[in-house]
Symmetry: C2
């Protein structure tokens, strides 16, 4: 079959790879320049490859190749306001940090090893006819043209043009919410000798309630930091007007970073602010002719670091669905939708909840106690007990199943706590009467 | 101040009237033709004027004038499948049925009695610059022009162009959901002598679970019927392909209508199917320069018959807000948003719930018992007790307050039912031991 994929980001490049391996003809159109020739830095949180993403890469024989470009993170290192540190392990597996640019180049290079896969850059999708199907493009030089493949795949992100045109005049559910927080990128350069200036095998986190910062290690000794602040309020992007404002905020909240980012005040003010959006929609497809994957049908907040992993799962599932139903593209895309939708809905919900936890409750004693119990029970009960974060990160258990299991475990823990409380109370009463 | 209102529907025409009375300069642009000169029938459910809408018209001195064009409905007449009937009263007040075209013409005529209010028809808004502010229009003859008022009001419905442009690049929450049901219009003509062929002072309802129909009386002896079916499934628009299909469905479900609509099979198939959408969004305004009202910021399902009433409340509140804060358009629109948003959210939720009730639970004995208790308690306790539907329809109590009061009353009823049950059970136990 002949596929046109709109978007050469993580979702589109991976899907092209998967479909190409199955012998389909794939052309990917991307509005940005070719990252292989144009190494201009595009701001992005670093990506976190976890078990799901790795398993998907492994299926396509790419695990070895990709993991040459990663920085493994074995746990989370919390930086307290008094500069003290607290480590918690990710358990077996962990998360592999990788820069978006590096992973993008690897996927595109791997995909184009199939002669039937082609990438066209600097070319923007301006509309589709969902019933033909046909897709209209305009190249950077202003050349307008139309292609008519068997299937158009929208892998063009949270503000998908393909989705907009596919859902026009349909009874399409669509939900879009932004956080009142945004983020800016900062860069901690390597030391003079090229080494890392903080631990290079952990995810660094500065949780401060209304604000937070985190940093991923890079292979060149640097760190990519993401600084998350509210848009409005006393400690917000809006309130930080001068270098002094920025530096005094860092001195108070992130004192150990102040020395690591040269000229942090000016650098911070020069950076653009990025928004954070989550979207949920249906339908994902039209008549076996148009289908959406990745952020185009389920953008999530980035705080569980699962967006790209979920997009890879999408890509495999979609390619598998076309393989399972070669007779009917309509049945294939419906199979894909049915198998993915409950899990991406669950992921969206958990990503939302995890933001509050990262910012805040990481610091709260109650949550820490519950997490400690989780870890102890995991050690004792082995595979029968697993903290939610570990199920998300270290397994390929479907997201909705992981959420359901976490709910069950939580009820057991709370029941046990109530029982212990009752026994303790009974003891107290006996002692005092 | 100088206002441009986009859309001359219920929301836009009423607002123009309210702003005009306060001395503002108002130009309303509408993409459809002038209903005063062009009496082409546009399909629409008849509108239900209830106390909120009437109070709003009264504030502008229009109550008398408008009520000359209405058909009062004193309650709901349920048509059972065996052709038997069951009446339930709306209580004091009731609902006044009016055709959209008639009300539209009345509002426009009333508004243009102010020399400072002007309507421009056949002219489509194609974009706005929210920061100037400026609005771009194209007339039917292809003439493109731009206007630069002080404030642009988007009263252009659920798929608002003003909203789309106002929210572009903003952190805008947006939620849109369609029902799996749609509707088609049918017309019951007057009898040969010009009289109504069913009771002319009630809302007629045929609740059938997955399908339903309802009819509003018109002044000319006819009825406007809305036939609600699922889009897909065994008894759906999709399944009705021939006149025979339609007639056999009517014979089974709506036997008493079969004789009232001439050639119902053919007529039904010739009608377009309309979708039903609910939307929820924020922000509603931008920098005191652009603001949304009515369906443009809160389209609701039509089953509580409150969309137009809520749009009138919006119009009054927005005009009042500009009067309350003549110093600051920014403060005015924020005041409007704060005072309306909780209530239109509540209305959207109740309109959604009421659909299930109209289709189905109207027929269930449990709900009927609860409703009967509601009516009795209302009689006994007078103003201290009121069924939800009566609060929505017969009062101007803000929607969220009505919902909260209904929740409280429901808890009291359920508590009382539990107490009566316990006493009865006690009695039984005593008798049998």
């Amino acid at each position: 079959m002949e596929f046109v994929v709109v978007g050469a980001g993580m979702a589109g490049a991976f899907l092209a790879l998967a479909l190409g391996r199955q012998g389909h003809t794939v052309t990917v159109y991307e509005r940005r320049p070719d990252p292989r020739v144009n190494a201009v830095h595009t701001t992005s949180m670093n990506l976190g490859l976890s078990e799901r993403g790795l398993k998907a890469l492994e299926r396509l024989g790419l695990r070895q190749e990709i993991t040459r470009h990663v920085s493994p993170m074995r746990g989370r290192l919390v930086h307290n306001q008094d500069k003290s540190l607290r480590f918690s392990t990710y358990g077996d597996g962990g998360i592999l940090a990788i820069q978006r640019h590096d992973l993008g180049v690897q996927l595109i290079e791997a995909a184009t090893r199939s002669a039937n896969v082609r990438f066209v850059f600097d070319t923007r999708c301006v509309g589709i006819d969902k019933d033909l199907p046909a897709a209209d493009f305009v190249s950077e030089s202003g050349n307008a043209f139309t292609v008519t493949p068997d299937v158009i795949v929208g892998a063009d992100g949270a503000f998908s043009v393909v989705r907009k045109h596919m859902q026009r005049d349909e009874r399409a559910d669509f939900h879009q919410e932004f956080l009142d927080w945004g983020w800016r990128e900062l860069h901690i350069p390597a030391a003079a000798d090229g080494s890392h200036r903080m631990a290079d095998d952990v995810f660094h986190l500065w949780p401060r309630g209304e604000t937070m910062m985190f940093a991923h290690p890079n292979l060149d000794g640097s760190f990519t930091c993401s600084c998350v602040l509210p848009f409005e309020g006393p400690r917000s992007f809006d309130a930080l007007r001068t270098s002094d404002d920025v530096e005094s905020l860092f001195r108070e909240l992130f004192p150990d970073v102040l020395d690591l980012v040269p000229d942090v005040g000016k650098v911070f003010l020069d950076q653009p602010t990025f928004k954070l959006v989550t979207t949920r929609t249906s339908p994902w497809h039209h008549d076996g002719k148009v289908v959406l994957i990745g952020d185009a049908c389920h953008a999530v907040y980035p705080f569980l670091a699962q967006g790209m992993n979920a997009a890879f799962e999408d890509g495999l599932e979609l390619a598998d669905s076309f393989a399972a139903r070669p007779d009917s593209p309509r049945a294939a895309v419906e199979r894909f939708y049915q198998r993915r939708k409950p899990h991406t809905d669950a992921l969206a919900e958990m990503s939302r909840q995890n933001f509050a936890e990262l910012r805040d409750t990481v610091r709260s004693p109650g949550v820490r106690l519950e997490k400690a119990c989780d870890v102890v029970l995991e050690k004792v009960l082995r595979h029968r007990w697993m903290p939610l974060h570990a199920m998300i990160t270290n397994t390929t258990m479907p997201y909705a199943d992981a959420r359901a299991k976490a709910h069950r475990q939580r009820r057991i823990l709370q029941g046990a706590a109530a029982a212990i409380g009752a026994v303790a109370l009974g003891g107290l009463i006996r002692r005092f009467r």
